[in-house]
């Protein structure tokens, strides 16, 4: 049976991991490749790496970062940040990404999704949506939540999938960084609106939050600070989730070389 993916997310700026990662036993806890590899050994099912560099110069590190991560990583790697053209996605895939996520660029130019899907396949094309609750619905926000788009998030996700997105990375802007749990209503609405996998993001603090997200329709759960701050290792978290009845890939069996 298909298992629920547990996905640590790294924010990377100018080639370095941001948001104060506290991680035992790493030579350089700011190096994306080392951290990603450490999470794989803990049993992470995938790594998402979001480039939050504000400048063109900062983003110049991105390809090099992806190459370094790929050298060590033998689980899937999704990259987001700064993709505006299919060529940008192509460069990231060539460097070692398995999937590429697009966010505000797709809002400005929805056809980007169809061009990416046509060239690389839907399974490589991830639509990342940041939504903020407005009354009884959710509105798509971009530019780190600073800009409302007026787009209804449910309408947008349906359109994005019809254009070729093969997966949805769904972030609740209200919950992101709050540790108060995922926005379950938002997840439920989106996972009922589309038939591609949905990754829940924004608000994770406890294993219970993750179980709730899966019950609301999530196929994968993303978390950042609970791993980076050392509250949970991936394998300890997975043990708890398995005991709570989620289908989980059991922690990596160490195989002899």
């Amino acid at each position: 049976m298909l298992t629920t993916r547990i996905i640590p997310c790294l924010d990377v700026k100018d080639g370095r991991v941001v948001k104060g990662v506290k991680f035992q036993g790493l030579r350089d806890a700011g190096a994306p490749a080392e951290l990603a590899h450490a999470y794989e050994l803990q049993g992470a099912d995938e790594i998402i790496l979001l480039d939050v560099s504000a400048t063109h110069e900062g983003r110049a590190h991105q390809i090099d970062t992806v190459k370094r991560v790929r050298e060590k990583l033998s689980i899937p790697l999704t990259i987001g940040g700064g993709v505006r053209q299919p060529e940008d996605a192509g460069r990231l895939l060539d460097a070692g990404a398995d999937k590429v996520s697009v966010n505000s660029a797709a809002v400005r130019d929805p056809d980007l999704l169809s061009r990416m899907a046509e060239r690389f396949g839907s399974q490589c094309t991830v639509i990342s949506i940041d939504g903020a609750r407005v009354g009884d619905h959710w509105e798509v926000v971009v530019r780190g939540g600073r800009e409302k788009t007026g787009l209804d998030a449910i309408e947008w996700v349906k359109r994005a999938v019809s254009l070729g997105a093969g997966e949805v990375l769904l972030t609740s802007w209200d919950r992101d960084g709050t540790r108060s749990g995922y926005d379950l209503d938002f997840l439920r609405a989106v996972s009922q609106a589309v038939r591609v996998p949905v990754i829940a993001s924004g608000g994770a603090n406890t294993p219970e939050h993750m179980v709730e997200a899966v019950e609301a329709g999530a196929d994968a759960v993303l978390a950042a600070s609970i791993f980076h701050d050392g509250d949970w290792t991936v394998d300890a978290l997975k043990d708890v989730l398995a005991n709570k009845g989620l289908r989980i890939r059991s922690a990596a069996k160490r195989e002899n070389p």
Partner: protein, 210 residues
């Protein structure tokens, strides 16, 4: 104990996602050579047919490179080590629902079909793999979890092959093997230690099993 081959030849099918495959072989201590050179491919002791976007585009590419007959003969005899991944497995079929009317390599008398509409498609994620009829000489000997990214699949292991299955809605073919051919629907190069171990068995075992 047999040794790693020095080189593995990977057919350059022209679409992305090959970086993970290259990195996986490098971690296993083998030099991967990515090429579209017909002679090098024909002579390769260890050959990889990677996943290549859509079925129709994949066959068109193999035809352009003049590889259809070479691959068909090689896969029918299954004497030399060949490793097919994801779409690479589906190309062995007669055709696929993904590209109606396009003829596949026809090594297997079956068609790749889309997962049920009841499911989330593509299947993205880790699914349990269970070997069928495994013995000590098989590549697929151990249960484990493998990473999938597919919308199409084979429903049953073809006659004359053995392999492994997974379940998504219903059982489907995770991988098949015969002689020195190993074809996986999942991505061993993205399946952590379990996937690397399988790739290593193909590298080491293929030359000694015969």
């Amino acid at each position: 104990m047999s040794k790693n081959p020095e080189q593995v030849v990977i057919i350059r099918t022209g679409v992305a996602n090959i970086a993970s495959m290259l990195a996986a072989f490098e971690r296993l201590g083998v030099t991967p050579l990515l090429t579209e050179d017909r002679e090098i491919i024909a002579d390769a002791d260890h050959l990889v047919l990677p996943g290549v976007g859509a079925f129709g585009a994949g066959m068109k590419r193999l035809e352009e490179l003049g590889l259809v007959d070479i691959l068909r003969a090689r896969l029918i005899s299954s004497e030399r080590a060949t490793f097919c991944v994801c779409l690479g497995l589906q190309l062995l079929c007669q055709g696929s629902e993904e590209s109606p009317g396009v003829e596949g390599l026809g090594v297997i008398e079956d068609h790749a079909r889309r997962f049920s509409d009841e499911l989330r498609v593509p299947q993205l994620g880790w699914n349990q793999v269970t070997p069928v009829d495994a013995d000590a000489n098989a590549f697929l000997t151990e249960e484990g979890y493998a990473y999938y990214a597919n919308s199409y699949r084979l429903a049953s292991i073809p006659e004359g092959w053995r392999g492994a299955t997974s379940t998504y809605g219903a059982p489907f073919v995770a991988a098949i093997e015969r002689g020195n051919t190993l074809a996986c629907q999942f991505h061993p190069e993205l399946s952590s230690a379990w996937g690397q171990a399988l790739m290593r068995r193909w590298l080491l075992g293929a030359s000694s099993q015969g």
